[in-house]
Amino acid sequence: MSILVIAEHDNKALNGATLNVVAAAQKIGADITVLVAGSGAQAVADQAAKVAGVSKVLLADNAVYANQLAENVAALVADLGKNYSHIFAASTTSGKNVLPRAAALLDVSMISDIIAIESPTTFKRPIYAGNAIATVESTESVVLATVRGTAFDPVATEGGSASVEAIGDVEDAGVSKFISEEIVKSERPELTAARIVVSGGRGVGSGENYHTVLDPLADKLGAAQGASRAAVDAGFVPNDMQVGQTGKIVAPDLYIAVGISGAIQHLAGMKDSKVIVAINKDEEAPINAVADYWLVGDLNTVIPELVSKI
């Protein structure tokens, strides 16, 4: 058995999500090869080579892989993948975009968003917005899966000494082209990796109020900021801050939900947090049912008080 892990990166640095995927791959107990497909991505390959548990890094460095277009990366993954028993990628938008395409090229079914590994062919994954956990067994020749990062503790970024092998394979499907991107800049920790997350919902009232009330709390705690779908749809904050079934899945040590009612969709993205605090003026809000501590009150007075006391 040998495992191919698709590295997540921006051509400059390896994304932390890859460390969680390597951790999941280690549980299978086989050689781990990391594929870095990018453009000018030597630095990423060098970082990947140092990651604990990685035995080989393949670097496919070509302009066609610059923006991780699924059409090109999936073809490469499918080509290389024939030689592996498992192919894993992070359950990020990039992993979700590429891996199913590679699976179909290999003519195999794949498993999305695994949260536990029972055996090399048996995995657990959430279904119905996390309201049920399915145990799934694959009888395919190659097992492809995306890995939910928050379910596996990341491996160390140092300690490995893998060899880096440049490969010349180039797959250009020629049916898609990168035009532009708009990346939201933030000084705060990355949402999916943060130890503390402060999230606001419709209850915060406006985009202005979201920042006036929640920024000081996030600053004080060194927390990442999240939001419910209602807050995103109302235009309070950009969509990449959405926590939920259709947004990001987080599992921090502390999740503070402010002005969030707790729809099924939102709970799917945060109910595996270690400690959940709900601050809401509604005593009946469903979020209270999953909260470890809940406080009924007006967030406009409660949050500033909380900031002053921690």
């Binding site: 699924a70 059409e71 199913p100 145990t135 990168f178 079934q245 909380l306």
Partner: protein
């Protein structure tokens, strides 16, 4: 140009599902079923493109039990022109669905193929990408803006760091994200008209697909319960609990 939209019949988004006591699956008896919310957005986008004059005909496809006709009729009430139901009660997965859709695409030759980004029951987020691979077509997944111009389509995608825009050569696959549009409600006269629109019934074998999925669901369990929390009366009490009891700050 022709547009093909795939829709799935799923448990209504507001229903809290229960796992069967024998752990064979979730209990779907007497549970309200609806069109998957992401599929509804795909239908709405196709209808808007038709209203703009870009799309001339909308074909809506569903694969599943006989009752999935209801979801095809709902899509017709929103503006789809005709429907195809591929009737099956077999245990098929995303790959088999993609293979059936490939067969339909080869017959109907649509330029635009719209799907939801994921079904809210199995949460796989795979079919659109798999169909893209089988057809060798470009894929614009998690779309929040779609602009068709000539023989290309520009798709703005919701990615982890923000937004990314790609240009695809038609025919292309688009999977919809929640923010692409807000689906309309079907008006009663349109619901009546939808009953008269043509709906073909087919079988997976008509598209050369017969096998079930090679993923076996061993068991389905409820998630671990969280232990009940406590209501705190004041900010002081909250801070004290977080510091001394939970030790997270």
């Amino acid at each position: 140009m022709k547009a093909l939209v795939a829709v799935k019949r799923v448990v209504d988004a507001n229903v809290k599902v229960r796992v069967k006591p024998d752990n064979s699956g979730v209990d779907l008896t007497n549970v309200k079923m609806s069109i998957n919310p992401f599929c509804e957005i795909a239908v709405e986008e196709a209808v808007r493109l038709k209203e703009k004059g870009t799309v001339s005909e909308i074909i809506v496809v569903s694969i599943g039990p006989k009752e999935a006709q209801e979801q095809i009729r709902s899509s017709m009430a929103l503006g789809a022109d005709r429907g195809i139901l591929v009737e099956t009660t077999d245990d098929i997965g995303a790959l088999e669905v993609a293979k059936i859709l490939k067969g339909i695409v080869e017959q109907e030759k649509p330029e635009l193929i719209l799907l939801g980004k994921q079904a809210i029951d199995d949460d796989s987020n795979q079919v659109g990408q798999m169909l893209g691979a089988l057809l060798g077509a470009g894929q614009g997944t998690f779309a929040s803006v779609v602009n068709v111009a000539g023989d290309k389509v520009q798709v703005t995608r919701e990615v982890d760091g923000g937004l990314q825009t790609v240009e695809l050569t038609l025919p292309a696959i688009i999977t919809t994200d929640l923010r692409l549009n807000e689906p309309r409600y079907a008006a009663l006269p349109n619901i009546m008209k939808a009953r008269k629109k043509p709906l073909e019934v087919k079988a997976p074998a008509d598209y050369g697909v017969s096998a079930s999925t090679k993923l076996k669901t061993v068991k389905v369990e409820p998630p671990a319960e969280r232990k009940a929390g406590v209501q705190v009366k004041s900010v002081d009490e909250l801070v004290e609990k977080l510091k001394n009891e939970a030790k997270v700050i």
